[in-house]
Structures are given as C-alpha cells and as structure tokens.
C-alpha cells in the first residue's frame, strides 16, 4: 500500500460500532482504493491518551482518523448539542440525517470543524437509563450517582435531580464496579461491549419518545486527507457524508435490539415508560432546553433558530 492511515477510537474492537460501522467503512476504502490505502485500526485507545483527546489527535495528526463525541470536549462544538437536548431525537437515522444537513446548511465544516476533514456525523439510538435501583420517575434519581456522556446530558440529569459525573464510555464498567457511579445512560447497542447487564439490572426505556441521544463525529486529519491524490480523495468522499452518516446512525439503532435481548435473557428488570409516565420527565426536562437556548443566545449563536431548524430537519427526515 502507498498510504497508511491510523484509525483511533475508544471502544473495544469487537463492539458494534467498530465492527458494523468503522470496519465496514475502512474495508470498503481499502478495497476501492485497490489496496493503495491501508487503514490500521487502533481500538480501545491503544495509541494512548484519553477519549476527550481523540479530536485533538485528529487535528494534530497523532491519529489520521478518529471516531469520537463532540460532547467529550464541552465548549468547542456548542451547536452540535442541539441534537442532544431532551426529547429531540426520533430515530437515529432521521436524526443523523438532520445532523449532517444542519452542519452543511450552517457550514460547520469551515467553522467549528474547520481544523479536521469531517467524514461522518451521526447520533445513536434512543438513550436508556441503566441503574442499580429501578427508575420510573425523575424523583427516583435523587441521590443517584449517574454517568452521562456530554455537557448537555449532564445538565439534563442534574436538572432531573441526579448527581452526575461526566465520563467517557470506557470508564463505565470500572466506575460501576467500584461504586463511583450507580447508574449510567447509554443506548442498548453499547451495553454488550461493556457487559452492562451484569453490572446493573434495571433499565428504563423511553420508547414512545426517546429521552436523549448523543452526537458522534468521524474526523480525518486535514493534512492526511490533502496528501492523498485526487482519485483516492474521491474514494474517501464517495464513502463519507450524508448517506454514510445516515447508515451509521441506522446501524447503531439496529443493534439496540440484540443488546436489549441480552438484558431480557438475563431476566433483568426492563421498565418501558408509557406516554403518561413520560409526562413528568418532559416537564422536568424543559428547564434544560430553556437554559441551553439562553446560553446559546448569550454566545451570539441564536439558540431558538438552531432549535427550530434542528426540529424541522428531524421532522422532515422522520416523516419520509
């Protein structure tokens, strides 16, 4: 091969996203490049550093491609948080499409993401609360040490009454087994790869109206991209963007079912909230949205417009 690209990410190699999204993507690139590109895969932070550093590793060329959450570096991608607000998402594919489209419309690629070459933007399936003690109402969260992935989700659960701790996915099993946290939010899809159903036995789903999601970015070092000859850049371009993002989001949600099945088989307590049961959550969550809009306005980002546009795009894609 002529070009070797290092792909660095935080999940173990056999987790769903590496196997079903990243490996598929990387294999396609290798094949379509006629073997001229090799993509070396470094799962589980093997190249060192912590997950919040992944984005900068792509900026600085420590890795050539990284998969991470914009939310791991709060304050740098405030606009992407709009998709993480409570009760925004419908399903992962529609929301992922909306995420890419909004990024294009608002030209995030030459503003917040200007220091990398963005390959994909997507969200995961409906977020689920996994806890030691059953959680049905927001009051059940009082005094619970809960891990949430990003700034906005942390605010959401703080407003709901939990004691939140922000930490990346790989820290969850250790923290649960040491008692640093007693609950975490995460979609079903990731649960098998961190053996979550053995660490906690209560799972609260918001099936009628998903409570939250988190945003992802697959980013490439700009120089590494620019270094490729045009035909190879074309191979990369053909496999990234809107359709790839939609596929990635859809795939993540598709793998929620097998993850859930493991919890069912283990005889865990799965609480699926009804419309009425979700109502008090909605009321408690409004605060988070208002705060966020005010905060964006304060930064001159027009929170209301962002919120409205994101909602409209999600709806457009969902009704199709």
């Amino acid at each position: 091969q002529e070009y070797t690209l290092r792909l660095h990410q935080f999940l173990p190699a056999q987790a769903n996203v590496p196997v079903q999204v990243l490996d598929v993507w990387a294999d396609t690139i290798e094949e379509e490049s006629g073997g001229r590109i090799e993509i070396q895969r470094y799962p589980a932070m093997q190249l060192g550093g912590t997950p919040p550093e992944l984005y900068d590793q792509a900026v600085d060329g420590v890795a050539d491609i990284v998969w991470t959450l914009p939310g791991y570096t709060p304050g740098r991608f405030p606009q992407t948080e709009v998709f993480e607000l409570p009760f925004m998402m419908t399903d992962a594919e529609a929301t992922s499409r909306a995420y890419w489209q909004l990024a294009e419309e608002q030209d995030w690629f030459s503003s917040i993401f200007s220091d990398v070459h963005v390959l994909g933007l997507w969200v995961h399936g409906p977020g689920v609360i996994h806890s030691g003690e059953p959680v049905t109402t927001p009051e059940d969260l009082a005094g619970v040490k809960l891990r949430a992935p990003t700034r906005v989700t942390n605010q959401l659960f703080t407003n709901l009454g939990a004691t939140t701790v922000g930490m990346p996915v790989p820290a969850i099993p250790e923290s649960l087994s040491k008692g640093v946290i007693d609950a975490t939010v995460i979609p079903w899809e990731v649960t098998p790869s961190i053996r979550l159903t053995e660490l906690v036995t209560n799972h609260t789903e918001f099936e009628a109206d998903p409570l939250y999601t988190a945003t992802f970015v697959l980013a490439m070092n700009q120089a590494a991209y620019d270094n490729l000859p045009e035909d190879l850049q074309q191979v990369i371009d053909d496999n990234s963007g809107l359709e790839f993002s939609a596929m990635a989001g859809a795939t993540m949600q598709e793998y929620d079912a097998p993850g859930r099945e493991i919890a069912v088989e283990a005889g865990n307590n799965i609480i699926t909230l009804t419309e009425e049961q979700i109502e008090p959550w909605r009321a408690a969550a409004d605060q988070t949205i208002e705060n966020w809009v005010a905060e964006m306005d304060g930064q001159g980002l027009d929170g209301t417009a962002l919120l409205d546009r994101a909602r409209a795009l999600i709806e457009e894609n969902t009704s199709e």
Partner: protein, 197 residues
Amino acid sequence: MTALRPLVTLIARVMALLGGLVLVALVILTCLSVIGRGLVTLGHSDVLTGAAPGLAGWLNGTGVGPIPGDFELVEAGVAFAIFAFLPICQLRSGHATVDIFTNLMPGGIARTLVVFWEIVLALTLVLIAWRLYEGFSDKLRNGQTTFLLQFPVWWAYGASLIAASAAALVGVWCAAARAAETVTGRPIMPPPGEADH
C-alpha cells in the same frame, strides 16, 4: 552554581508545599462530598422517611449534597500537585534507578553516567514543559471547558504549566550542579533521600 542553591531549594520546597496544600484541599473536598452524598441517601432512605418524615423533609430541603463537580476538581487539582512534586523529586534525586551494574563499574564512569542522565532528564523536563505550553495555548484558543463546572480547561493546564516550568528550571540547575560537582569534586547537590533541614 552553589550560590543559586538556596533559591532552587526554595522553589522546589514551595512548589512541593503548594502541591501538598492542594492535595490536602482535595482530600477535604472529597470527604465533604462523601458526607454530603451520605446525607442525601439518608434523607431519601426508607428508614428516615418512615420514622421521621419531618426530619427527612428538612434534610432534603437544606440542599445538602455531594459537591458538584468534585470529580473534575480532583482531576485538575491532582495534575497540578503532581507537576508541583516534580522539582523536589529532582532536587533530592528521588527517581527510581537500577544500580546493580553501575556498582560494579569504576567510580569515574558511574559518576559520569549520573551526570549524563541528569542532563538528559533536565532536557526531558524542558521538553515536557514546552509541549505543555503548546497544549495550554490550544486550550486557551479553543475554549474547551469541563463537563459540569464548565470552567475552562486552560485554567488547569495553566496551573500545571507553572509547576512544570518550575520542574524544568530545577532540573536544569540539578544537571548543571551535577556536572560542576564532577569537575570540581566538591558536593553541591543536597544528599539524596528525604533528610530535611
């Protein structure tokens, strides 16, 4: 060389003490957080809400609880403390080494090796401080904050940078002092270990 020794010693001791005070502050903060969380658990426990609902309600109304963002404060504080501990470790030759082969070597060679590594170590500490400065500049530019308290990450980097610079400074002096010791044959560095005076 020798003239600078009191100053270098002062820098190393002050940094160690600052790091120690930060560490003690983190210890206290963490304990308060544990107590706060314990009170929340108590206030919502079946025992207390059953036996003394008034007391439970009052407890929950006081707003006591774990200190928000204790996790983040520990992370930022302990990084500063460890950087601040580097100068004294340098000055007291506290780094772990294996001396089985050097003990068998002629004294002159062994002493030259000590000087050589002291110089390399000093250069490494300068490298660490310089790169940390670059990391600090990045964080200053990109406005990254922490999850919960949302204080700028560059604050934490900046504090660590000050301590790392002190470590680099002390490291350079130690290297120079070791070199001068070999040339003049007179001891300049304080003896290794923890003896204090």
